[in-house]
């Protein structure tokens, strides 16, 4: 099984000024880095290694539904300021994996580590308390309520028991401006918004709980070109704000555009973690479909073992 990251893990020296700088300046630095002769792949690797302890780490996570072994010994790490794309064919276990992290399905085996210490996530509430926000594929918004109401649904601001609409509206505008989300008005019902705008509102809503990890389940699945661009912009802004993002997508173009790492699931287990910048789309697709698992590669891996 080829592991894209191992091939990319070239010895590197980290310039001191870059280590001292904040992630944000580092990111801006990296944007301009190709000019300074640093290979794009290496630049991306540095980004990955900025934080030592991953925000979220799955160690040997397994999940079984009756006779189906949905997940087998899955490993996954997500760091702050990093977008990890989770890809895989239908039925590869992506949604199950996300649901184990979000607390919908508790894991059977393995360890979930949050900021380095093992935690147990058995309810959605546990995940929320830790700082995991999940934006599901089918939007969890109420069509008849306006944008402000939806953003604060379930955590309304009150003063003397009465909804503090003014403060909620002010904070909504602030949040939407910060994320550069543009919608006609925060006082129109969600029904009036386009699919892309709704998706951005749903993502913005997840930000209100000040999470450390945002899980996006196919955020661009039903969106057009412009709307997809909006959502991808938003994903980049989340990363710039130092959040860890776990992005589930079927769209390789989206993954290549925003992700730093790609974790491939195949038949419920890991099939490699790739560095986006240094891996070709074909390699990733090969890992997803299992095209790499053929006679030739098996023989190669055997020869490697024999050589050892």
């Amino acid at each position: 099984m080829p592991d894209g990251t191992t091939s990319a893990a070239v010895p590197r020296t980290v310039p001191p000024h870059r280590v001292a700088g904040s992630l944000r300046s580092l990111l801006l630095d990296l944007r301009a880095s190709p000019r300074r002769g640093i290979p794009a792949g290496q630049a991306a690797k540095e980004m990955v290694h900025v934080t030592a302890t991953p925000v979220l780490a799955l160690r040997g996570v397994s999940k079984r539904f009756g006779a189906v072994q949905a997940l087998t010994d899955v490993e996954l790490e997500v760091h702050s300021g990093e977008v990890v794309a989770l890809v895989g064919d239908n039925g590869a276990g992506k949604s199950t994996l996300v649901k184990t992290i979000a607390g919908v399905h508790p894991i059977d085996d393995g360890v979930i580590e949050w900021e380095g210490r093992p935690v147990s996530i058995t309810r959605p509430h546990d995940a929320q308390t830790l700082g995991i926000a999940t934006v599901y594929q089918d939007l969890a918004l109420c069509d008849n309520i306006d944008v402000v109401g939806n953003l604060f649904l379930g955590r309304e601001l009150r003063s003397w028991g009465v909804l503090n609409e003014v403060e909620m509206e002010r904070r909504s505008r602030e949040l939407l401006t910060t994320l550069s989300i543009r919608i006609p008005s925060v006082r129109i019902p969600i029904a009036s918004l386009s699919g892309g705008q709704r998706q951005t509102v749903a993502i913005a809503r997840s930000m209100l709980g000040e999470p450390k990890l945002v899980i996006l389940d196919e955020p661009t699945a039903a969106l057009g070109v412009e709307q997809t661009a909006q959502v991808l912009d938003l994903v980049e802004r989340l990363r710039e704000r130092g959040l860890a993002v776990l992005l589930i997508s079927h769209n390789m173009a989206d993954v290549k555009a925003v992700a730093d790492k790609v974790a491939v699931l195949r038949l419920g287990s890991n099939n490699g973690v790739f560095d986006v910048a240094s891996t070709s789309q074909e390699e990733i697709i090969a890992a997803i479909t299992g095209a790499t698992d053929n006679a030739v590669t098996r023989r190669q891996s055997r020869t490697v073992e024999v050589q050892k």
Partner: protein
């Protein structure tokens, strides 16, 4: 996983990152993005012009609100007044405003249930049970009137909660549960009344006074109108000022003045009218107070927001941490409570609890009133004020036709026609709203 080979220097970077606060705004990311405003975005201008433009746009988009029902009321007034000059007399209007309260109370409860996108068919029977319960306790067993009143209303709340339990907790369809309730509570009421079938309420009982008491002092009606206008203006004005201070769009003063003026005209016209007859009816005061309170609960409290959320999307509400079961049970309990209150007003109007209470067209009138007033049958859209407008339409038609000496069959047919027209308007505006992207 190659991420394990992290160097100590990278770890240092992580700590420095943790200390650095996340940027509150993202100017780098936002540049070019915020400045370019999509020309298609409809931005409401400040000031009165903006208000008018927004209003016109809403109408075109099919967001008619209360306009059809207000127009309908005007048409009813014109038609019946041309047929019989007594229709707009102070006596007739005053009688209408007292007679509508019973059905109006029930309709208020129905608005809550309709906001969930559900239905309660049992409210008619529950109102009958409440009237019978009060009469039996107060007249037959000599229980204190106030205690009997509280027991009757609490009984309605309990009955509603039982319906809600079977719907929300057991998962039975609300339609079937409340249909069963319609039959069961009708039988329960007949059982309560026993062989006699009718229990007359003495004129001095608390319930009888509900519809017979009038504030005869002219100051009462004018005072209430004045208080309503002043409170409305002050709250609107303060709200607008608070919004201005917070830097969010606020209503222009001209709009507030216009709204206050409209309210003042309606309120004082009603006050003059009431004072020409017996004075301000107690029943109407209670009804208006209930409407103000329920409207406040629905639009300004977390509880009301949860009801609207459930009417919009149950799944979204659940994910937002709303206790769906509890809200549903409580809403059915509210519907039962208002059904009981309405039942007491109806018993008061005829000064008796009889076997016919809560049967006939009462249930249909209550649901029709809520719908005619503009509450959507599809959930998530409506206000309790809709119950007032709707019940005014229905009661006006009944009284107008009675003045003409037109028999009950025709009344039923006309009320049915009005209900159909309303639902047609609701459906058409929903379609327009869909094409205008507002549904």
């Amino acid at each position: 996983m190659s991420t394990e080979n992290t160097s100590p220097s990278a770890g240092q970077a992580a700590t420095s990152l943790d200390k650095a606060p996340a940027p509150v705004d993202a100017p780098a990311a936002a540049d070019g993005a915020v400045t370019a405003v999509d020309p298609r975005l409809l931005v409401r201008e400040q000031g009165f012009g903006g208000y008018l433009a927004e209003f016109k746009r809403k109408i075109r988009a099919g967001d008619l609100g209360s306009i059809p029902v207000v127009l309908g009321l005007l048409i009813i007034c014109v038609v019946f007044q041309s047929l019989n000059s007594n229709f707009l007399s102070a006596e007739n209007l005053s009688n209408i405003s007292v007679a509508m309260v019973g059905t109006g109370m029930i309709a208020t409860g129905i608005v809550f249930v309709l906001l969930l996108g559900e239905i309660d068919l049992s409210v008619g029977s529950v109102s009958g049970v409440s009237g019978a319960l009060f009469a039996v306790l107060s007249v037959t067993h000599g229980v204190n009137d106030w205690l009997a009143l509280v027991i009757a209303i609490a009984g309605g709340a309990l009955i509603g909660a039982i319906h809600g339990f079977f719907f929300a907790r057991i998962g039975a369809p609300a339609f079937a549960v409340t249909l069963a309730g319609l039959l069961f509570w009708l039988g329960f009421m007949l059982q309560l009344l026993g062989d006699s079938g009718t229990i007359n309420l003495p004129a001095d009982s608390v319930v009888a006074k509900l519809t017979t008491y009038y504030f005869t002092d002219v100051a009462a009606a004018y005072g209430l109108a004045l208080v309503a206008v002043v409170v409305f203006f002050v709250t609107s004005f303060l709200d607008s000022r608070r919004r201005e201070a917070a830097g969010v769009p606020s209503r222009p003063l001209s709009e507030i003045v216009l709204r206050t003026a409209v309210l003042a005209v309606v309120a004082f016209a009603a006050a003059i009218m009431f004072n020409q007859y017996k004075g301000l009816p107690l029943a109407l005061v209670i009804f208006l107070a209930v409407l103000v309170i329920t409207d406040f609960v629905l639009r300004r409290t977390t509880y009301g927001r949860k009801i609207f959320a459930l009417g919009g999307s149950v799944e979204a509400s659940r994910r937002a941490g709303i206790n769906v079961t509890l809200i549903r049970i409580s809403v059915y309990s509210i519907a039962g409570t208002f059904a009981a209150v309405g039942g007491l007003f109806i018993a008061s109007k005829i000064a008796a609890a009889n076997q016919g209470a809560g049967t006939g067209d009462l249930l249909m009138n209550a649901i029709a009133a809520a719908v005619i007033g503009g509450t959507s049958l599809f959930g998530g859209r409506g206000r309790t004020w809709n119950a007032l407008l709707g019940v005014m339409v229905i009661t006006s038609i009944q009284y107008g036709l009675a003045l003409q000496g037109i028999a009950t069959p025709i009344v039923y047919m006309i009320t049915g026609g009005v209900l159909l027209a309303t639902v047609v308007i609701d459906s058409i505006t929903r379609k327009t709203q869909k094409t205008a992207g507002r549904a």
